[in-house]
Symmetry: C2
Subunit: 467 residues, 2 copies
Amino acid sequence: MLRIIFFLFLSVALHAQPNSSDKKQLKTFFDTSLLNGQAYEWLDYLTNRIGSRLSGSLGAERAVAWTKAELDALGLDRVYLQPVKVPKWVRGAKEFALIETAPGVTFNVPITALGGSVATPSVGLKAFVVEVQGIEELKALGREQIEGKIVFFNRPMQANLISTFQAYSGCVDQRYSGAKEASAYGAVGVIVRSMNLRLDDLPHTGAMSYGDQEVSKRIPAAAISTNAAEKLSKLLKLEPKLKFLFRQQCKTYPDVWSHNVIGEITGSEFPKEIIVVGGHLDSWDLGDGAHDDGAGVVQSMEVLRLFKATGYKPKRTIRVVLFMNEENGLRGGNAYADNALLTGERHIFALESDAGGFTPRGFSFNCSDEEFAQIESWKPLFKPYLIHYFEQGGSGADIRPLKNKYNVLAGLRPDSQRYFDHHHAENDTFDAVNKRELELGAATMTSLIYLYDMYGLAVPSDNTFAR
Amino acid sequence: MLRIIFFLFLSVALHAQPNSSDKKQLKTFFDTSLLNGQAYEWLDYLTNRIGSRLSGSLGAERAVAWTKAELDALGLDRVYLQPVKVPKWVRGAKEFALIETAPGVTFNVPITALGGSVATPSVGLKAFVVEVQGIEELKALGREQIEGKIVFFNRPMQANLISTFQAYSGCVDQRYSGAKEASAYGAVGVIVRSMNLRLDDLPHTGAMSYGDQEVSKRIPAAAISTNAAEKLSKLLKLEPKLKFLFRQQCKTYPDVWSHNVIGEITGSEFPKEIIVVGGHLDSWDLGDGAHDDGAGVVQSMEVLRLFKATGYKPKRTIRVVLFMNEENGLRGGNAYADNALLTGERHIFALESDAGGFTPRGFSFNCSDEEFAQIESWKPLFKPYLIHYFEQGGSGADIRPLKNKYNVLAGLRPDSQRYFDHHHAENDTFDAVNKRELELGAATMTSLIYLYDMYGLAVPSDNTFAR
């Protein structure tokens, strides 16, 4: 306890007092980002010239080459690729689905295969449908009511939760594990209501997993749009014996090599204390991955560019990492952390932007109470920029493997209301990103990275290798 | 001073402690708004079925009739129309403009007449152009460099200001007074860079005024898109002798009668203490007035509907006022306040939503320090909804005439980053409004109105008639 009080005192005395020079530095970052930013132009190229970037795809490889070239052009101290073996799942021909309420009476339905799913038979899969509100309902229904049928998971995202990410967390088990769970009761396929708070016609894809289920038992899984889910549910009440047909030709190939893209400015005083800022370079194959996570990629690149452009020379090593394969494997994040452990690199702080390019509201921190006290002392510096949200919690999927008991991880928290309108769907495109909102996010991130560079950890330790 | 301390004490002791019942009530409002809201459906009708609502237009009159009918259907205690005489300015045929860099070498330019402007000659107005960065430059240039020319006001909105409303305030004098000021130096017309932070092809209209200038001296004024302003500025550097041609057929007719639309729930304990919530029913004629101010209109209606729907019976009289003619005259706001003064109605609090239907961030309050202390004590109640912005400042144009030294006025403050992308332009349409963001705003407003209903003013006074 004395130790804690000592460190709190130390942190207040040595580190935590934001001063007028910090205030000025933050203003320089915000001014430069808003008046002469590069993030929006980068995002234009990444989404409109390269487009979607699913792991193992041509788009992903083009994104690796292009971001490396852009980082090279910034004149950083070191830019390199880190090899990562990634899964390669390919969607194949566009999916097709319909509801058949009586022979010859059909309604087409917007549908998308879930990432990792197996294909249907080439003529499609047609079966009766049983609707459930979640995995827990399967047991009550039992094999007799499920066998031979398509299970339709229709629990919607909860609209009265203020954080849409919380609403997502409350539903996504249906998408991720629904197929595996339903097949245990003899289901022949699974369709899921898209993870979307709006009622519209766009199906949203996303990762699913069969776990260690043997290949012969795997059943195809797909998502239908929210409007289609509403319609199917209503039709089922009128005609419980309706049939659903869907056809998808997706396939998993053997893993292939890809890369994390890394660039850094070497610290002038403490080069071995590494601060990471990043996002993930891969995206789903619908849309162009503009919010998820093109925004995080270009904002992270912009942090280092803003340091260069404003002449700020960091004391610690500032490293941008563009992670490969967040969406369907997290291989990039794991490989990065494994390598850091192997080489004994000391990461004191990491920040990820992977919640969209919307107006930034603050950060969530995975840290101790002592570290959080320092962070809270920085809050007044952010007030002029309406950055108010500083809470303990999660950080980001790609950086999470870096966590040890000494370091601090953080996630940018933009306004979340519109995020799931676009998430994993074909409307996750450049036009859905507002230039100023993207730039405010980049400046907000740069400001926090700057403060960690200036003041380091509140509770410094040399022993930060162990996880 | 003692009196102030006494009132501060009183307010803390009697009023200001948010309790668990307030907390529960706010959650009920948010839940109901997000799960069973009416605002979005109303906005759909107002924008897509009725459309634009410029004062004196058919759209404005249809909006009066429709909102009155909707308020009637809510079962309020009183719904009525308040007559207001409003200006009637009509755009006429679509405007036309081009840049002529040499005889026969022309570039078309998106243009819109400013509200209140006179027409050009029917063949158009063609003249040399002098570019300025603001009204203050006119004097330095003097009559010799301005006479016979079109003055091009090209000072952009300042992108590094975090509040886009502040950036707007820093430019809008060019639009509002540019024509009157330039004509004093012999200018024959005025074009203004649109009040828009984005570079795009949409011209943004808005109010201008000739003040008391005699009619024969009035010159036509129009706004060109930001892309066109950039292009014109660049071409002027290459060819200072280029000419600009524009044609507009707008016209001001004699004033006509219209109405404020008013509905109220009579207070059960203090019926003579009136609390107003409102927005303005009129809009510009480009677009459908979705953010400006369809959002404020439906959110204000939703406040009373949420009271009814949740069974909350107010102690004070809660009145929704849909003001006519905010955009080009403020006749509705003035008429409402004049009438309140005349009839001796006692308004203790008024809230306006006129800053777009984006994610709410908080409120700005026009009030004394004593009153603000009470407001600050309510902040913790709003934290679960990420409502964090509570500052002293302005309120809303329509309610401002109600201000006296006793009452409190407030304006909803949504996220402002995207607002001027749509403001007064043809893309201010329903699809630019997000359902959840609109609903969060309505619940936030309802919560504040509820708190004023519960606790009243921190410094109560019977003498609140005088302004």
